[in-house]
Assembly symmetry: C2
Amino acid sequence: MAPRTPRPNGDDRPAPAVPPTRRIPEATVARLPVYQRILEELLRSGTTTVSSELLASAAQVNAAKVRKDLSLLGSFGTRGAGYDAAFLIEQIDRSLGLDRVWPVVIAGIGNLGRALARSQGFAARNFRVAALLDNDPSIIGEHIDGVAVRHPDELPAVAAELSLAIGVITTPAPVAQRVADLLVDSGVRSLLNFAPRVLEVPGDVLLRYVDLSIELQIMSFHQAQRLGEERAVRLPVIRSVGVTR
Amino acid sequence: MAPRTPRPNGDDRPAPAVPPTRRIPEATVARLPVYQRILEELLRSGTTTVSSELLASAAQVNAAKVRKDLSLLGSFGTRGAGYDAAFLIEQIDRSLGLDRVWPVVIAGIGNLGRALARSQGFAARNFRVAALLDNDPSIIGEHIDGVAVRHPDELPAVAAELSLAIGVITTPAPVAQRVADLLVDSGVRSLLNFAPRVLEVPGDVLLRYVDLSIELQIMSFHQAQRLGEERAVRLPVIRSVGVTR
DNA sequence: GTGTGTGAACTTGTTCACAGCG
DNA sequence: CGCTGTGAACAAGTTCACACAC
């Protein structure tokens, strides 16, 4: 399956002399944008210094986790005081690679693609919607926030010109794989897939799913779980030492 | 910060005598919908029996993981043969609570809310878009796929009537918290938040984020990482003290 | 033989608890 | 004294490897 196994298991290199940044675990990377958002809100409301405790409670995580996460980026806090919000934002931005502009291409300009093209999510940070693709002749040529919708066949030319970094797939499921192939062939190395389809891409392409149906199913599980528990509570369960409360 | 700590840390109950189903780890729950989708595609293409190996390669995970995940639901495979696809789908559905209909309310009928309301994600499985909310008078009364858009003030009445289980928040960020409170007060116990805002909800409410901006930032990190690696290979990397910049 | 189901080893992620700096 | 930064303990999740059912 994996054609080019990147590091299947046995790591042989003793220690790669400290990579560009210290190795940041995946779980931490996923939390950094959350801290980022909270810090910005705090800054907007006049707070300049923030403790791990405060950040943690806002992000609904443990304070030790916040400190560990942040310490992976470097020693940016002041003992006894906390972190300088503005400075921390800058450091997180740098660690996440948000100190550059990333050109994004959206493929599939239906309801969702259109909504995303106009969304604040791109505009707010350093993401520029650089290209829009659709194969429907009645849509091609339309402009959304100043960017023209083009036919996928034009992608190779467009990609060369714009050095597209991130592709967003909002096509119907049946064509999602074809579109993914096209994007990958044009040099796009990160794909965000909104189509309800499991895609295959080469090992060096980062592929993430944003899938409404999967999210809903996970919620369904928890909801059902809860129902099960309630049922269990109503019937036997004798609660002796009960902290009735 | 956290007003009603639900289970801050120390769990006191010793072990609730085996819950409804055997305890299914969170990571497994997140993968079940993926297996589900693959199984359905296989079934559609005529396959009736499937091995953990095949499922794994389609889902891009390890075969042992598939087997462990599935064995948590029960012993549904046949040694030497594999799993019966149709039967397995049924079992996963049951485990995920998809053998009931879940009424869903969507709050915020902008570009995204509208796109979701029409989306296949809901229709395909047992989720019924039961209510749509928006406070814009020019939208209220509009029908989307047969469901009328109503004012949030009507929510209490609507909720009582429909026993809404899952709320989807697609409002602008500034009102997201208010809408969340409203939904929670009306008895909705699972929220899917698309607004770029960290929300506070009582401990017994399940809250998940689907956040374009966070997804993009994670992609940015990996993209930057990749760039860094390339550069690291090219240059000798002399790392003295001065961070001139 | 073939492929499941599962203990046991291992890896990753989380939390604790405290030394030490400001 | 307050709060960061981090080693060490712990928990969750993954992978291996193999007994065993078909």
